[in-house]
């Protein structure tokens, strides 16, 4: 791929604005509330766009296009099944407790609801995990640009780290959120023409369907396997993902999706920066609208790539790499100018993914680790200073992680696996905590550990394909194993939390006010205009998601 002057000009302008936003926000950063929570002052559409953009790292843009090429339209389950229902649930039912309790963070909610040890467990694992993911993201970016443009990987990593560091130091969470909103629009304008021109080239949706039916039959599946999302979920052998409908719906649609969207502080933090309870609740609901449309921007180009490019185009150094689907499409269809915009959108999504992780890290570190365990009676200015130090440390640790990933790929795979064990049971704890007043601190703590244990045991005892002969059970694919592991972990956590809660002493119900559904007065939104009511938005978004599922059934 070769870049022209205009492409560099676009990229340079983006960098100027990113840093400019940080500089312009500096004078608004007066207290720790401004720095960590944007003063709880942002409008719902801003936090809503940040809510999905923080999640829309470039791994998603690259990875979802790759999945589109590899699995076809079934990839949309990560959106229409694996995101929208959970986003509706968190907005309607859970946000009142996150925003309404005096908690600064998700781990702090766990302390208010349960106890110190449950919070510590969640805070420490989350903090490590965010640094890890931002490091991985940096590494992936560096490698991609090295492969595509021949840019030095060290330069990519250092430049992106420095830019992110500077704009967070200057503008805190607000800087990160504003840049996420900016990135959202860059992704839309940068990738919409690609989907359009690509679809035109493939002969529209009908033409694409015809071409993909050849791809499907060549791979040994029914003709519609790449263009129908539910039809081929009857048995794992009938679809390229190797999953059946129950594992898909429960594993991805329930456990993994709710575990991420409803408990991950990276996204919840965006909603908590909203200016009112109503705005906080509308954040995930408004975010669901563009989230529903993203498959057309990120999955469709991948599907087009596999339909129109020869198989050999995906082979790099002798191995098939579907991650190149999106870059290959940019290369094929974009002239200079738009190519710069597309690349800038990619750079933006890498950087905002990184910044999202760093801001979530500095908040959890300061409020949930430093303040309770290391120095509990500091001044506000001290904690703000600490937040900035944590930003520096977090960025440095991310860079270090990126280099570890570069040298020891398998250590990273192992860590990623361990994190999936930790995350899988989380939603059971929050569900019981918020909707069952009888759930106790010991129940939650041991439930979480049992869930993580169950995930690890499940992983050890099962395997994938023919290599798993000696194991207790063989799954048809990695994805099936992953989904079912999550189901086991969630169930173990759910059952153990209930059993231990029943044999330990409950907390007084006065202490649980504002933390548990049955003990909290309902929020009345009647005085809001109808389009601002979370319940109305939830129904609209829910119906739209159902229609999309049926249309591409």
């Amino acid at each position: 791929m070769h870049l022209h002057g205009i492409d560099y000009a676009i990229l340079a302008l983006y960098f100027v604005f990113v840093l400019g936003i940080g500089a312009a926000l500096k004078r608004f950063m007066k207290t720790s509330l401004d720095f960590f929570e944007s003063g709880r002052s942002l409008a719902a559409w801003i936090t809503g766009l940040a809510f999905i953009s923080a999640n829309l790292g470039a791994q998603e843009v690259i990875g979802m296009a790759a999945s589109g090429a590899k699995y076809g339209i079934m990839t949309s389950h990560f959106y229409w099944l694996g995101a929208i229902p959970a986003m509706i649930f968190v907005g309607v039912f859970m946000m009142p407790f996150y925003y309404g309790s005096r908690a600064h963070s998700v781990p702090e909610y766990l302390r208010l609801r349960f106890d110190e040890k449950t919070r510590a467990l969640n805070a420490v694992s989350f903090a490590v995990m965010t640094l890890f993911s931002s490091g991985i993201s940096m590494y992936v970016m560096g490698r991609l640009f090295q492969l595509l443009l021949g840019w030095d990987i060290n330069v990519s990593i250092v430049v992106s780290a420095v830019v992110v560091l500077v704009y967070i130091l200057l503008g805190g969470l607000t800087s990160s959120i504003y840049n996420e909103v900016l990135q959202f629009f860059l992704i839309v304008f940068g990738f919409l023409p690609l989907a359009f021109v690509g679809l035109l080239n493939a002969g529209g949706w009908d033409g694409l369907q015809t071409r993909l039916s050849t791809v499907a039959t060549d791979a040994g599946y029914a003709a519609g396997a790449w263009t129908q999302s539910w039809q081929h979920l009857g048995s794992p052998a009938a679809n390229p993902m190797g999953v059946e409908w129950f594992g898909m719906a429960m594993g991805l649609g329930f456990v993994l999706s709710f575990g991420y969207w409803c408990t991950d502080f990276l996204v919840i933090q965006r909603a908590m920066a909203a200016k009112s309870m109503n705005a906080a609740r509308r954040t995930p609901l408004l975010a669901a609208i563009p989230k529903m449309i993203f498959p057309f921007l990120v999955i469709l180009p991948g599907m087009i790539a596999i339909a129109i490019l020869p198989k050999s185009a995906f082979v790099f150094n002798g191995a098939t790499d579907y991650n190149m689907a999106m870059p290959l499409m940019l290369q094929k269809f974009y002239p200079p100018g738009l190519l710069g915009l597309g690349l800038t959108a990619l750079v933006a999504s890498f950087m905002s993914g990184m910044a999202g992780n760093v801001t979530a890290f500095n908040t959890v570190w300061t409020y949930d680790i430093y303040k309770p365990y290391l120095r509990s009676h500091g001044t506000d200015a001290h904690y703000m200073w600490m937040g900035r130090m944590a930003t520096v440390f977090g960025t440095l640790a991310s860079v270090a992680t990126a280099y570890v990933a570069m040298r020891f790929g398998n250590i990273m795979d192992l860590l990623q696996l361990v994190f999936s064990f930790i995350n899988a049971p989380l939603f059971a704890t929050f569900l019981l905590g918020m909707f069952w007043a009888r759930a106790t601190a010991n129940g939650a703590f041991w439930g979480l550990l049992s869930g993580t244990g169950a995930a690890a045991v499940h992983y050890a005892m099962t395997g994938v394909g023919a290599a798993a002969m000696s194991k207790l059970h063989a799954y048809p694919s990695d994805m099936a194993q992953n989904f079912w592991g999550a189901i086991w972990a969630w169930s173990a956590c759910f059952v153990v939390t209930i059993v231990i809660s029943l044999v330990t002493a409950p907390r007084r119900s006065e202490d649980l006010k504002g933390l548990v559904y049955s003990l909290t007065p309902r929020i009345r939104e009647d005085e809001q205009a109808w389009y601002r009511r979370p319940a109305v938005l939830a129904v609209v978004v829910g119906v739209a998601a159902i229609v999309l599922n049926i249309y591409f059934w």
Binding site: F185, P336, L338
Partner: protein, 64 residues
């Protein structure tokens, strides 16, 4: 009080929109062979310019 997010976004999109529109109008049309003969820079540029103006307009209305 915060900086209105529409200000920097509107400005960046207006500038990028102008740049792409100008490039689409004045640049060599041969480069659009890859995009099926469609002048994608011009169209995207006009879209970004309109969006930038819309954002700036929103920011301006609020300060009035």
């Amino acid at each position: 009080m915060q900086l209105d997010v529409r200000l920097p976004i509107g400005l960046l999109f207006a500038v990028l929109g102008l740049l792409l529109t100008g490039y689409g109008l004045l640049g060599d049309p041969a480069v659009y062979q890859v995009s099926l003969g469609i002048n994608v820079n011009l169209w995207t540029g006009v879209g970004m310019l309109a969006f930038g103006a819309f954002m700036l307009g929103g920011a301006w209305l609020r300060t009035r």
